[in-house]
C-alpha cells in the first residue's frame, strides 16, 4: 500500500462515500457558490480540522443566510451587466473590508480604510459597509480583505467572483452550451474552480491565543516571518479536496476540487492565486491552454482566434503549457482536454471487440486514417478513440504484480475503463476505472500538511471512460 493510501485510511469511509457519489451524483462538475445580485457577508472566526487532525483557527467571510464561516469565502456567481451589492458586517476584533480588483466599486458606510471603506472591529452589526459595482465584463475574478491584508488574507478572508457572459454566441460550436467569455474560444463542457492558498499554522495559533487572552483586541502578529506549512485548493488541503462538496464533517470548507471529464471534452479550470505565494500548478495528462488572465481574454484583437493543438479553438494569444504560475491576486482561465491521441496503443485495450469509426471519416482499410486524405486521423464518434492507435496492444510487457506497488487510484489495468487483478487491499478507489491524473503544485514541499506527506496543494483530474456521466 503506498503512502497516500496508508495516510488517508483515516478518511477512507468518507472517500468511499465520495467515490460512490462520483458515479451517481450530478453535482460534481460545477462550481458551487452563491448566485444573485444582493449578498450579505459577515467576517468572523472559526476553526477547521486539518488532515493531520489539528484544529486551526481561521477567519472567513460567512454568508448570512447560513451564518457559517468558510474558506474560501462564498464564490459569487453573477451575470455580466448586473449591479452587485454586498453588505459586510464584522465580528472580528479588527477592521475588515473587501476589495474587488478590476471592478469599479462604490463603498459606503463603516469607516475609511487604507484601500476602501471598512467595518470597525468588534462592530457586530453597528456599522456595516455596502460595496456596489456593476460587472461589465465576464470572467474570473477574486476578492479579499483590503484591511490588514498581510494578516487577514493569511487567515482566510478571500474568495472568488465569477461573471457569466450576458450573451453566449456559440453558433459556430453548437456542441457546447457554455462559455467563459461568450464565444467558442472559451466554450467548455465542464468547469472547475482551482483557488490556491497557503497558511502558516503558527500564525493562526498566535491569533487564537491572542483572541483568547484579549477577545476584543487586534492580534499583533509578525507576518513578515511567515512560513506556510499547509496548502489549499478551494479551501481544502489534500486529500480533503476529493471529498464531496458540502461534506458535513468539513463545515467551514464547503468546496471540493475534483476536476473530471471524458476523453475529448473541453474542461475549463478557473485558477486563482488567493494566498500570498505564487504556485507552479502542474497538470498531468496533457498541456492546457491559458486563455485569459485577470478576467481578460488573451487576444490580439476582439474575436481573434487560433486552433490549439490540445483543445481546439482558443484566443489567438492563448499559451499552451503544462505548468501555470498562479500568482497572488491574479486569475488564470485555462482549457484542458485529454484525448489519448498518439499514445501508440489502444487506450481501450485489445481484449474486447470495440470498434473505432467515425461516419464522417471513411476508413475502409482500417488504418485509422481518412481514405481520402491519409494525413487526417479518424476519431471514434462515440468513444473519442484515436483510430490510428486502434487495436495496437500495449507495446511492453508489464512486470509481475509481485514486483509492483499499486496506487489506490489504479484500476488494475493499463487501459481506460479496463480492470485487472489487484492484490488484496490495493487500488479500489477508481470506481469507473478511469485515468487519474494528479494536478498539483510542483513546488513539492507544498504537497504536505504540517510536515506530513502527501497532502497540501494536490488533486486529481479524472479521465472518466466514455459514457460515465460527469454532470
Amino acid at each position: 500500500m503506498n503512502a497516500f493510501a496508508r495516510y488517508i485510511r483515516g478518511r477512507v469511509t468518507v472517500l468511499a462515500a465520495l467515490l460512490l457519489l462520483v458515479s451517481a451524483s450530478g453535482a460534481w462538475a460545477q462550481i458551487d457558490g452563491l448566485t444573485g445580485t444582493f449578498f450579505n457577508f459577515t467576517a468572523k472566526s472559526g476553526h477547521i480540522i486539518t488532515p493531520d487532525a489539528a484544529s486551526m483557527m481561521i477567519w472567513g467571510y460567512a454568508d448570512d443566510s447560513t451564518g457559517q464561516v468558510q474558506i474560501p469565502g462564498p464564490t459569487l456567481i453573477v451575470n455580466q451587466g448586473d449591479t452587485i451589492t454586498i453588505t459586510l458586517n464584522n465580528t472580528l476584533p479588527e477592521p475588515v473590508s473587501i476589495v474587488f480588483p478590476g471592478q469599479q466599486v462604490t463603498a459606503s458606510g463603516g469607516a475609511p480604510g487604507l484601500l476602501t471603506q471598512q467595518v470597525p472591529g468588534n462592530d457586530n452589526g453597528a456599522n456595516p459597509v455596502t460595496y456596489t459595482f456593476t460587472v461589465n465584463e465576464p470572467g474570473t475574478y477574486t476578492y479579499f480583505s483590503g484591511s490588514h491584508s498581510d494578516l487577514q488574507v493569511e487567515m482566510g478572508l478571500y474568495g472568488a467572483l465569477i461573471v457569466r457572459p450576458a450573451v453566449q454566441d456559440l453558433a459556430a460550436c453548437s456542441q457546447y452550451t457554455q462559455s467563459a467569455y461568450g464565444d467558442c474560444r472559451s466554450a467548455y463542457d465542464y468547469e472547475f474552480l482551482i483557488l490556491q492558498s497557503e497558511m502558516d499554522m503558527d500564525i493562526h495559533q498566535q491569533v487564537e491565543l491572542s483572541m483568547i487572552a484579549h477577545p476584543t483586541l487586534p492580534p499583533a502578529i509578525d507576518t513578515a516571518a511567515y512560513h506556510p506549512t499547509i496548502w489549499f485548493l478551494n479551501g481544502r488541503p489534500g486529500p480533503d479536496v476529493l471529498a464531496e462538496a458540502g461534506a458535513a464533517w468539513l463545515p467551514a470548507q464547503p468546496y471540493n476540487c475534483l476536476p473530471r471529464g471524458n476523453p475529448g471534452k473541453r474542461v475549463l479550470a478557473r485558477m486563482i492565486g488567493a494566498g500570498r505565494d505564487s504556485h507552479p500548478f502542474h497538470t498531468h495528462g496533457n498541456n492546457f491552454d491559458l486563455i485569459a488572465r485577470d478576467g481578460r481574454l488573451l487576444e490580439s484583437a476582439p474575436g481573434a482566434s487560433k486552433a490549439a493543438t490540445e483543445v481546439g479553438v482558443v484566443p489567438d494569444l492563448a499559451v499552451s503549457d503544462y505548468t501555470q504560475t498562479t500568482s497572488p491576486g491574479a486569475t488564470f482561465d485555462t482549457i484542458y482536454t485529454w484525448t489519448g491521441q498518439d499514445l501508440g496503443f489502444d487506450i481501450y485495450g485489445t481484449a474486447d471487440a470495440h470498434t473505432c469509426s467515425d461516419p464522417a471519416c471513411p476508413d475502409a482499410n482500417n488504418d485509422g486514417f481518412n481514405d481520402g486524405d491519409p494525413t487526417i486521423a479518424c476519431w471514434d464518434a462515440d468513444t473519442y478513440e484515436y483510430c490510428p492507435d486502434h487495436g495496437k496492444p500495449l507495446p511492453v510487457v508489464l512486470p509481475d504484480i509481485k514486483d509492483l506497488a499499486f496506487g489506490m487510484f489504479y484500476s488494475g489495468s493499463a487501459f481506460l475503463g479496463g480492470t485487472g487483478v489487484l492484490p488484496p487491499g490495493e487500488g479500489g478507489f477508481n470506481l469507473n476505472n478511469g485515468y487519474f491524473h494528479i494536478w498539483h503544485s510542483h513546488n513539492e514541499r507544498e504537497l504536505t500538511n504540517n510536515d506530513i506527506f502527501p497532502g497540501g496543494m494536490m488533486t486529481f483530474f479524472i479521465v472518466e471512460p466514455p459514457g460515465i456521466e460527469i454532470q
Binding site: 484601500l115 498581510d150 494578516l151 488572465r293 485577470d294
Partner: protein, 646 residues
Amino acid sequence: MTNWKKFSTIAATTLLAFLFAVSAYAADVTLNLVAEQVNVTMADGAVVPMWGLRDAASTPGTATVPGPTISAVAGDNLIINLTNNLSEPTSLVINGQKASESGAMVPTWTNNSTGNRTNLNQRVRSFTHEASTGGGIATYRWDGLKPGTYLLESGSHQAVQIPMGLYAAVKVDVAPGAQAYPEIAYNNDVVLLFSEVDPVLNAAVASGEYGSSPGSGLYTTSMGMGYLPRYFLINGQSFRRFSEGGTVPLPAGFVNGTTLVRFLNAGSRTRNPVLQGPYMTLVAEDGNPLPYPLQQYSVYLPAAKTMDVVFQPTAEGRLPLYDRSLGLTNGTTSPGGMLTYLDVGASGGQVIAPNGGEMLVSGDTFTVQWNGGLGAVRYNLWYSLDNGTTWNWVAAVGAVTSYDWTVPAANSTTSLFRVVGFDAGDVKVSIDKSNAPFTIAPRTSALLVTPNGGEELTSGDVYTVQWKSPTNATIGYQNLWYSLDNGATWNWIHSVGPNKRSFDWTVPAVAASAPTSLLRVDVFNPGGTQISSDVSDGNFTILPRANVLLTAPNGGETLTSGNNFSVQWKAPTTNPVGYYGLWYSLDNGTAWNWIGTVGGLQTSYNWTVPAVGGVTPTSLFRVRTYSSGGAILSTDISDGSFTIQP
C-alpha cells in the same frame, strides 16, 4: 534625523533623437555618482545601514536608496563616473543597455584578476571593471541608449550590494516626457521602484560580520542564515499613515490623459503590484515592447524585472497601489510596506502637495508635487503666507513635476503653494494652488543633519557639516565642536556666522580609527546666550590616513614652465612624518627628477614648473613620506599624467 531624501531626479537635457543606435545627434549624458554608506531610518524608526548613490553635483547632499533616477533620450550616450566610498569594490551595470567600454564588460574575479576565466576555481566578483575602495573612480559608458525603463545596479558581489541598496531607475524616452517608445506616448509618468531590506543582512555587512565562518555563530551568507526582508520599499520608502506624516501620494496624471507607470523590482523576491480600479495595459518588459499589449489589474514582477504599463484615468481621485504578495509591513508592524497612492487630477498642472493641512517646519526640505501635462515645459513656483493675498517667488523649473522646497522661516497657518505652467511658446497653460492652507511652523531648536551617525570620514578630507538653526530667534553666531570619545571631551572646530547652515570641515588627523566620534553645533543669540544645541544622533567614524595622498597635480592639468604651481597632498596620520621628498617625471615615471624635501608638517609646496623642450603630456609628480629617521613610510604619484608646456 532621517537621511532618506525624497527620490530625486536628474533631468538630462538633450537633443531629440529617435535613433536607438548611436546617432549623429546623440548627446552625452554625464553623471558623477558617489557610492557610500548611509543610515536610513525606516518607517518604524529603526536605523538600517545601507549603501546608496549620491549625485556629486547635488552637494551638499547624502546618498539615497534608490539612487537618483536617471533620465535620458534614446540614442544618448550615458557616461557615469562612479566614486566608491564603500568598504568593498563596486561597479555599475544596466542590463538591457549595451556597455560600451572596450566593446564589452570585462569581468573582475575574486582573485583580483580580470578578463576571461583562466582556471576552474575562479569566481566572479564583478561582471565588469570596478571602482576600488577608498575613493576609487571608475567610468561606465553606454552608447546609443535604447528606449525604455531599466535598473541601474551594482555589478559587483550582488548577493551583498543589491540588498544593501545599490540600485536606481533609468528611464530613456524617445521624446522626453512624452514618448516612451515609438508606439507609446504619455502625458505623465510614475516610477515605482520596489525593493526590500533585510536589516540583519545589512547590519552584518556594515559591521564586517558578513562572511564569517559557519560555527562562529556569526553571519555567513544570506543563503546560510536565511534571507528575511522586513522592510518593503517603493522608491525607497515604505508606507506610513498620513496621520504619521507619512506617504505622499504620487502625481499620476489627469482625467483622459495617458499615464505611464514604470514598475521596477530591485528586491530579491517576486512582487505582484495591484492597481486598484482601472485596468493597466502592459506595453513593455525590460525595455522591450511587448508583441501584444495585455490588459491586467496586477503585474507579475520578479527580481530585477522592469515592466511598463499605461492607463487612462477616467475620474479624478486617489488610486491605491499595493503589493499583493503582501509585503505590507514595517518591521513587525502593520500597515506599512509596499503601499502607495496614485493621485489623478482633473487636469494637468494641479498642485498635489502641499495641498492643505500639512505641517511644515522652517528650514526643512519639503517635496512639492504637481501634475504635469497640458504641454507645459516649464513651471513658475510661488508660495503665500497670507492665504494668497501676496505671493512670494520660489523658483522656475523645467518639465518636472516635483521640487525640493526649503521651507522659509515663517509662522503661518494660512500658507498656500502655487504652480504656474507655461508651454514651449511661453503661453500659460495651467495655474493651480493648494486646495486648502497648510501650516509653516518656525524651527525652535538646532538640528544637526550631517554627520549624523554611521558615516566614515578620513583624516585630511573635507567633509560638509550640515545643520538647521532655529528660526524663532535672532542668531548671533554658531559654534562647531567634535568629539572622538563619544562626547566625554569636545574639541573646538570653528565659529560661523548667523546665516551659515553648513561648514566645510577638514577632518582632523587621528592615528587610529576613532569609531566613537560625534559632532556638535551650538547656536547663540547676539548677546552670547546659547539658544540651542544638537549632537549627532549616532557615532560616526574618523579613519586615519595610512598613506600620503597626492591631490594636485593629479592628472589632466596643463602647467607652464616658469610658473608657480601649488602642489597639494594629504598627510598620513598613522605615523608621524619626519619630512617629505618631492620628484617630478617628464616621461610617465621612467625617470624621476629630484625637487627637494619639505618639513613633515607641510601639506603643500609652491613648485616652480621646470623648463621643457616641447609640450610634455607625460608628466607626473611624486611625493614620498619619510620618518624622522629617514625610513620611507609611503609614496603617492599623480593618478594620471599632466602636461607641461614651454
